[in-house]
């Protein structure tokens, strides 16, 4: 970061009429993502009247409020005050986060672009599986589709571009890779990300008491399972797809 950047960030801006955004950078970085997660946890803990909801994007914390009940100036002052309380880039991640282990098949016909992704990363298929299945990644944000996480940061070799053409349909539970991130798809959709792994987890469960499985800040490992093990998991019909979680201490 240059001096100029340090003066510029963090920054508070309005979003539309009833939103305000505290941003910790203009590019994705681990400290900016951590700052956003920590700052949102502090906003939630503050429990200010007038804040109707808060959320995080990759490097920002968003709050929505009713400007006719709580003026923009008041909300901005509250956010500025909280910002000044500490160095959020050095903040600890929030409590209560969980570590998930979600079994994945890497490659095979279930995830047909592993080889292509490995080549782009300059790795053999074997090394690619080793790297992807042992990288502990964080839910940096959830978006695009309900419950669908962006996970990172993968080792530097995975700074591979998205493909030019779109894949017409990537299935639910697919694990796709680009720009040092995974997306774990919560719905079947077209995508430009390369399909390297497949899981059996269902991330969005509208009928359940916990409709959204992952939360921003959670960490995830995708241990490799064989095709046969994966079919057994899938046949069991468990929406968790064999995933287990523990609270990070």
């Amino acid at each position: 970061m240059t001096d100029k950047t340090e003066q510029y960030w963090p920054r508070i801006r309005t979003v539309g009429f009833d939103g305000m955004l505290v941003s910790f950078g203009d590019g994705l970085s681990e400290p900016a993502n951590r700052a956003a997660l920590a700052f949102r946890a502090a906003v939630e803990a503050a429990g200010w009247d007038g804040i109707e909801e808060s959320a995080t994007s990759l490097v920002s914390c968003f709050v929505r409020f009713d400007p006719l009940a709580w003026g923009h100036d008041l909300v901005r002052a509250d956010l500025s005050g909280l910002l000044a309380e500490r160095d959020w880039y050095a903040a600890d991640l929030p409590q209560g986060r969980r570590l998930w282990r979600i079994p994945a098949v890497w490659g095979t016909d279930l995830a047909p672009q592993l080889e292509e992704a490995a080549t782009a990363a300059g790795l053999s298929v074997k090394d690619a599986i080793q790297s992807l299945s042992t990288s502990r990644v964080r839910v940096q944000t959830i978006g695009f589709a309900p419950g669908q996480p962006y996970l990172g940061e993968l080792p530097a070799c995975w700074d591979i571009p998205r493909q030019q053409a779109l894949t017409a349909r990537i299935p639910e539970g697919a694990l796709a890779v680009a720009i040092r991130q995974f997306v774990l798809f919560s719905v079947a959709t077209p995508t430009g990300w390369r399909h390297a792994g497949q899981t059996a987890i269902k991330l969005f469960r509208p009928e359940s008491d916990t409709p959204f499985v992952l939360r921003p800040g959670d960490e995830v490992l995708f241990p490799a399972v064989s095709r046969e093990e994966f079919e057994n998991i899938r046949a069991a019909g468990d929406p968790d797809g064999g995933a287990v979680s523990e609270v990070i201490q």
């Binding site: 909801e53 959320a55 995080t56 509208p206 921003p216």
Partner: protein, 337 residues
């Protein structure tokens, strides 16, 4: 006794809508809800009930509906041709809907989204705290022929009320606030954006509508490498071909296209309701002006009940005039007063 209505014929864009399900942005789920929330408030005023009760939203085209018990109905939003057992019904008004009567609603004459409200509201089950269909998220779904919709209990009897709607069905001027990325656009592009006559594209849905114009687009250098950031309804994103795309109730929660501004919440129904081809102009306002405008709009929405008038019928519209008791209340002149 269960109260229901049945769809005998369904247009292609019918769904149950309410004020949406706020609070799930952090999980990637936008609020959703009616494309034109003001129409829900108008229907509620006509039926003297809560604006939170769900109604049937009709995109472009209605359908045929039969009441399975005596109901009250109100029609708001984009005006569509409507008849009850063949008799024309006044739009923006409330009416009795007797058991067995067929309500036929045709294509929109002006505007895009019509609303059918019933006394007691459409009583489908809640999902994640609301009863609206969020089609993009796979919550609820489009309504189809043969479907039977539950209707809530209705303690009110009153019908025959009419309301003059806030004008919003033919496009027009739409007020915009600068937003996160407005300063990525050079001043000359922002000026041209405000001076351009846009026309709502033929395509459009609950996620958003595209605005077409003659002349060059509004794409900026580096506009396709902006970091993904939070999206709110009303955001105007400039996509790869340079056309502005106004995001509506079912928008994504995050996105990487640069946004030139955000439409004020009270002007968003005007965007949603503009019919294909309708002219739209965008004008930037300041935050202070926006607060003023929104304050007035909220007062208007709150005061809708006070603006409801009795529906005076033209005798020509009453087919069985002879069956009406027209002289009740008349006096002979010699009664003791």
């Amino acid at each position: 006794m269960t109260r229901t209505l049945t769809l005998r014929k369904a247009g292609p864009g019918l769904s149950v809508q309410d004020m949406g399900r706020p609070g799930n942005l952090v999980y990637g789920l936008s609020r959703g809800g009616a494309a034109d929330p003001l129409a829900l408030a108008e229907g509620a005023a006509l039926l003297s009930q809560s604006p939170d009760l769900p109604a049937v939203e009709m995109a472009g085209m209605g359908g045929d509906f039969v009441a399975d018990c005596d109901l009250r109905l109100a029609l708001t939003g984009a005006e569509m041709r409507a008849t009850l057992d063949g008799t024309p019904l006044v739009w923006n008004a409330s009416h009795d809907w007797p058991k067995g009567a067929m309500l036929s609603i045709g294509a929109a004459r002006t505007g895009s989204y019509g609303y059918l409200h019933v006394g007691g509201g459409i009583d489908v089950a809640e999902q994640l705290g609301a009863r609206s269909a969020h089609l993009g998220a796979g919550l609820g779904r489009l309504l189809s022929e043969g479907e039977c919709l539950p209707v809530g209990a209705d303690p009110v009897k009153e019908v025959g009320r009419i309301l003059t709607p806030e004008p919003r069905f033919g496009g027009g001027e739409v007020r915009v606030l600068p937003s996160l990325q407005t300063d990525l656009f050079p001043p000359d592009v922002l000026a041209r954006f405000q001076d351009t006559d846009f026309h709502r594209d033929m395509r459009g849905n609950r996620m958003g509508v595209r605005m077409n114009s003659d002349g060059p687009g509004f794409l900026i250098d580096g506009g396709l490498t902006v970091l993904s950031e939070v999206i709110v309804p009303g955001d105007i994103q400039v996509t790869g071909d340079g056309a502005p795309f106004v995001l509506l109730a079912e928008c994504q929660t995050t996105g990487g296209y640069p946004r030139i501004g955000t439409v004020l919440p009270c002007d968003l129904p005007k965007v949603a309701q503009a019919q294909p081809g309708a002219g739209v102009r965008f004008r930037f306002v300041t935050l202070d002006q926006a607060v003023e405008v929104e304050t007035r709009a909220r007062a208007t929405a709150k005061g809708l009940r006070g603006k409801v008038q009795p529906l005076v019928r033209d005798p020509h519209d009453i087919p069985d005039l002879l069956s009406y008791q027209l002289i009740s209340g008349a006096i002979a002149g010699n009664e003791e007063m």
